[in-house]
């Protein structure tokens, strides 16, 4: 299968196989009107299989989202067909506006103007806790 190289944009590489669609949704890529390619189950010498997302536009990718959904992905920034920056994404210490606290007793459940903010309390889990009520973040995907 052939997918054209991009000239100016972003390539998110080394996505754990099967997690590309989750990232696509968390990043809100459905709202973009440029060309976006989600390639699943690409052969990889290191990972066996991986997913890749290519975005054919200068898109300010939210690295907190990337680090939360799939730490270890790499982001390649492409300018004039060349990779000008390569970033390996790690677990973010603080998550701002990525997920919502699901604790019905949390103050954010009634005061919606408060920022949804989580702190990494255990990188081995990984475990994120709401900065307001300390409830553990519940993910709808396996982020091990």
């Amino acid at each position: 299968m052939k997918i054209d190289a991009i000239k100016d944009g972003i390539v998110i590489d080394h996505i754990t196989a099967g997690r590309g669609m989750t990232l696509y949704n968390y990043l809100g890529l459905d709202a973009l009107d440029c060309t976006v390619a989600l390639i699943k189950n690409v052969s990889s010498s290191k990972m066996g299989k991986k997913d890749i997302i290519k975005i054919d536009a200068d898109f300010g990718v939210d690295t907190d989202v990337l680090g939360y959904v799939d730490p270890g992905v790499t982001v390649n920034v492409i300018k004039n067909g060349e990779i000008v920056e390569k970033k390996k994404i790690e677990l973010p210490e603080i998550l701002n506006g990525v997920i919502r606290c699901k604790n019905p007793r949390c103050i954010t459940s009634t005061e919606h103007s408060l920022p949804q903010r989580f702190r990494l309390t255990d990188p081995s889990g990984p475990v994120y806790r709401c900065v307001w009520c300390e409830a553990r973040a519940k993910t709808d995907f396996d982020n091990k």
Partner: protein
């Protein structure tokens, strides 16, 4: 300017200094009767409370200060939809220090971020209640003479009981403390306390459903109420509320100097017949609560 939202914000040294100050106040209250002259405490209680609110108010009055505030959310602008942040900013214009109780977890932290005066968390949902923990620590110190080398039994609702979580967290920092955690299976301590506090700090503990078998080894027995307001389901509450009832017969198996504590209010988990037992410390605990709050108000207002 400093607030107190979570007991872990205080170092062991600071807690000991507060306990020392409370004991000094108990020794000679007249020396402290004018320390807060001209200062005002705002008690913002969005949820009912007897002891905590009155003890804060009594504490401020005994320091020579004044008190303003409300005791239910319906009598504040919260009923009109005002945010906690705006309430905190507003009250900062009237008071020198705020004590806040709120049913939503994290509300006092929101207040402290927005207030321009110190905020004391007087209980937020099932989350934190640091002044109860300070009260408990002062009680143990007064009753046992130490905070180290103790076997502490905590019995009842260990899942939703905010006092329990804070107490475990605070006592875990002292040498030789061992916990026996007695609860129905449904009300065991949450994972973040078991793993994040006890296991993480290698504190010895045991989880059991057996109060009778545990009682002989305890230096302190901390009883708690199964709280109706923490349940979304009335059936679960009714099923679990009578799990443990401390009676004179059960006390017969306890050490002669075991201390019985309870954050109060009790429902039926401690039989009234125990009130006259010298080991029953829960009403002395109430009195200690006022003195430790006096010490805390002085600390946060930076008054020597």
């Amino acid at each position: 300017m400093r607030s107190l939202i979570d007991i872990s914000e205080l170092s062991v040294g600071e807690i000991e200094a507060l306990i020392d100050k409370a004991e000094a106040i108990m020794e000679s209250p007249a020396d402290y009767a004018d320390k807060c002259r001209g200062r005002k405490l705002a008690t913002l209680f969005f949820e009912p409370s007897t002891r905590t609110r009155l003890s804060f108010e009594a504490a401020m009055y005994e320091l020579g200060g004044n008190v303003l505030g409300f005791s239910e959310s319906q009598s504040s602008s919260a009923a009109k939809g005002e945010s906690v942040a705006d309430t905190a900013r507003t009250v900062s214009c009237y008071a020198d220090i705020i004590a806040m109780r709120h049913p939503k977890e994290g509300a006092p932290l929101v207040a402290s971020v927005n207030a321009s005066v110190p905020v004391i968390n007087a209980g937020d949902g099932g989350h934190n209640h640091p002044t109860q923990t300070l009260t408990d620590l002062l009680t143990i110190k007064r009753e046992k003479g130490r905070l180290t080398d103790l076997t502490v039994g905590i019995c009842g609702d260990l899942k939703f009981g905010r006092t329990v979580h804070s107490l475990i967290s605070a006592l875990s920092r002292y040498e030789g403390v061992r916990f026996i955690l007695i609860s129905p299976a449904e009300l065991r301590i949450p994972g973040y306390v078991r793993d994040g506090v006890l296991k993480k700090n290698s504190v010895p503990f045991e989880e059991t459903t057996d109060l009778d078998g545990s009682i002989p080894s305890l230096d302190v027995l901390y009883m708690t109420r199964v709280q109706r307001e923490r349940f979304f389901n009335e059936e679960d509450y009714l099923r679990l509320r009578d799990s443990y009832i401390l009676t004179a017969a059960k006390m017969g198996a306890a050490k002669s100097d075991m201390t019985v504590m309870h954050p109060l209010p009790r429902v039926n988990e401690i039989a009234y017949e125990i009130d006259s037992d010298p080991r029953a410390a829960y009403f002395r605990q109430v009195m200690y609560g006022k003195f430790i709050r006096m010490a805390l108000i002085l600390k946060l207002l930076e008054i020597e």
